[in-house]
Subunit: 412 residues, 2 copies
């Protein structure tokens, strides 16, 4: 049961982009015609591109290839092809060959050059990649290309996700020469928290018509990824294939480059944070959605590292699961962050309930008050370490029996 | 159900040491007279001392105090006092006062000076420390002091351990002047893997009559701790109170200092590894005992870090639980170690079954062969990263429903 107490709004079309999908039976020929598993995103004009990739040093071939293509052709990208059902990872020497063949198929389907195509694969690790099955049915994806097809893209990149993940934002720009204009950002993502083993991988594809050049896009995406995709944790494991692509059609469509990108950055950050949070909300076995806000740090990096240490602690996550305001486990996790912490400066709050103040249990605090917060489906844990002024937020879920069942009892 | 397929031998007495215990009802007055919870180890002569402590920066007061005493009086230690049931941690300003009072009680019970006494506390975090209850009943510990009482010490330091942990080794020394002599090392430990939250803490107390001075003892203990206590992992969490004390009575008893300490070091390493492994074997919810051997590393530290990354991965640990030879999860964990890994140099074996060879699935390998190994209660996972000649072994268990039940369903 995911923690999704609201309804997602249908994703908005983005001028300059068309989306299609196909049912190729990637995971197994039996699934052909039963579920969409290949996605094609095509830019009508050369798009500016940016990307962030997994930090895992065991990277799949599609990650290496995608990184190279973005580096060499960042201002001339025309398509993304992505498949679910097979990660094309851990298969030895053929991995590179199959990865290039997938890009070639994408180029043919989009009627563009291969070096204008980015790819991503997600699914089982260590199984031969069924390139022939994709070749045979990829035409379905080009046949179905349409501006208003982002929902299908979100569906087709799912593996064990229990719901499709997508969101859009619009923002207005007023510039002296051109007057006012509204731009759109639409993104889709998949992953139940970078934790699906053989079906590993977090993917995010974001498109916009805001006219911004590739180098600026990259700078903004890297910054935004830190406070969104890099600020979630389900179980601390990072997949071999994690990829986020950001494409912009604006310059290709003839708009003048935005001078002030602050409105874009703000909207992109909202999109990225929502796409990332949706992954936590769909985390394996998750029944709670917890925001961990770390304040009083010496740097944002220190705050984020500390938040992640708390977020990955099995003892803290089982306390969330048990609705147990077990602050002893939280201070244990704080102490394990690798930062030098002064215990008499640490304060802890759960929503508005002050538990620990400067290292001492708050005199008004009772276990019942803490339990009442921890029993909620969503709450905010605030940790102030009293060393400086920097802060960061990390989102995570709880660790439940269902997680063990998913990962120990079935071969995934 | 711990993974303990053999019977522990009764611990041997160590010349120069006496051990006693008391039932003080530390955790709750109801437990008084029902279980032993305070341990007293007394050296008949000034003992040489060494210690290693938790790396958690949230350290309990007893750790700070113990470290200071070892630094200042390493050649003149006369007693260890330890209690289970209350960690005397996370309780604010009184922590230091209670910690000193416990040492004072130990000094009185052992009839020595307070600065000759080391202490350790384990149990619930954040509860007032019941120093009066200990004061009232500590005489039981001095009354029961005897050479052959190590089993009682192992019992009295237990918290949620399902069995008492102890071991002994003897080694012979032949030196020109003194001829042959046999020395003893006896150790006790507690912990179900540094993972008991409110009852956190791994403790180890080791005594020997081998005549070795404090500075050498410290050097040897630090080295040995790396390949024993620091090479186990149950869930990656480190407690605020972890402590290992090593005392030697030999010089105090009048023996000449050993010139060649290699026999001692070897025996101590066996003791420390067994005490550490027993903690994994009793890990919360553990049903499997897995040795992770990392070879082909550039340094021992790199090998150990990589082993620990594999050992703490929830996906790897649930694969162990599910008897699933899920090597995709293992390469994912290897890639997350922070080391630069070349995927085409990585080989993986489970016992004698070669799974991956230089990054490629071995042609003879079948899932059935892997599953047969992973189904065993104990097995060895060997990971060769092909970069150098250094190696290290890390011991861990699996992650099961029972772990979730223990940590989420009961307030511990």
């Amino acid at each position: 049961m995911p923690v999704l107490p609201y309804t997602l709004q249908k994703p908005l079309p983005v001028p300059g982009f068309k989306v299609g999908s196909a049912s190729c039976g990637v995971k197994s020929p039996d699934l052909k015609g039963k579920r969409q598993d290949v996605t094609l995103i095509v830019a009508d004009v050369p798009a500016q591109a940016a990307a962030v990739f997994t930090q895992n040093s065991f990277r799949a071939a599609c990650v290496d290839l995608g990184e190279k293509t973005v580096q060499e052709h960042a201002s001339d990208i025309r398509a993304i092809i992505a498949n679910a059902g097979n990660a094309n990872a851990g298969v030895g020497e053929m991995e590179r060959v199959w990865s290039q063949q997938l890009v070639d198929l994408g180029a043919k389907a989009a009627a563009v050059e291969a070096n204008q195509v980015l790819s991503a694969s997600t699914g089982v690790i260590g199984e031969p990649f069924p390139i022939e099955r994709i070749a045979k049915t990829i035409h379905e994806a080009s046949d179905s290309l349409a501006e208003d097809n982002w929902l299908q893209a979100a569906e087709a990149i799912r593996t064990t996700d229990t719901f499709a993940k997508y969101t859009s934002r619009q923002f207005d720009v007023f510039e002296q020469n051109s007057g006012g204009k509204t731009y759109t950002i639409t993104g889709v993502s998949k992953g139940s928290g970078m934790i699906h083993p053989n079906m590993a991988t977090m993917l995010g594809f974001i498109a916009t018509d805001a006219p911004i050049s590739a180098d600026k896009l990259q700078r903004i995406l890297s910054k935004v990824a830190d406070v969104s995709f890099n600020s979630i944790s389900v179980d601390g494991d990072t997949s071999t294939n994690d990829t986020v692509y950001l494409l912009s059609s604006g310059l290709g469509l003839g708009d003048e480059e935005l001078e002030d990108t602050s409105g874009f950055e703000e909207a992109l950050q909202e999109v990225a944070i929502e796409l990332a949070q949706l992954i936590v909300r769909d985390g394996e076995g998750v029944t709670k959605f917890v925001s961990i806000e770390v304040t009083g740090a010496e740097s944002e990096q220190q705050a984020r590292d500390l938040g992640r240490t708390i977020a990955v602690s099995p003892l803290v996550k089982t306390a969330f699961a048990g609705s147990d305001a077990n602050w002893g486990r939280i201070i244990m996790a704080i102490g394990n962050s690798g930062s030098f912490i002064q215990s008499n400066k640490v304060s802890i709050k759960a929503d508005d309930v002050l538990i620990l103040k400067d290292g001492n249990l708050h005199s008004d605090y009772t276990d019942e008050m803490g339990m009442a917060v921890f029993a909620k489906q969503e709450f905010i844990l605030t940790v102030d370490i009293g060393l400086g002024n920097a802060c960061a937020t990390v989102w995570t879920g709880d660790l439940t029996h269902e997680y063990i069942s998913i990962n120990a009892e079935y071969r995934s």
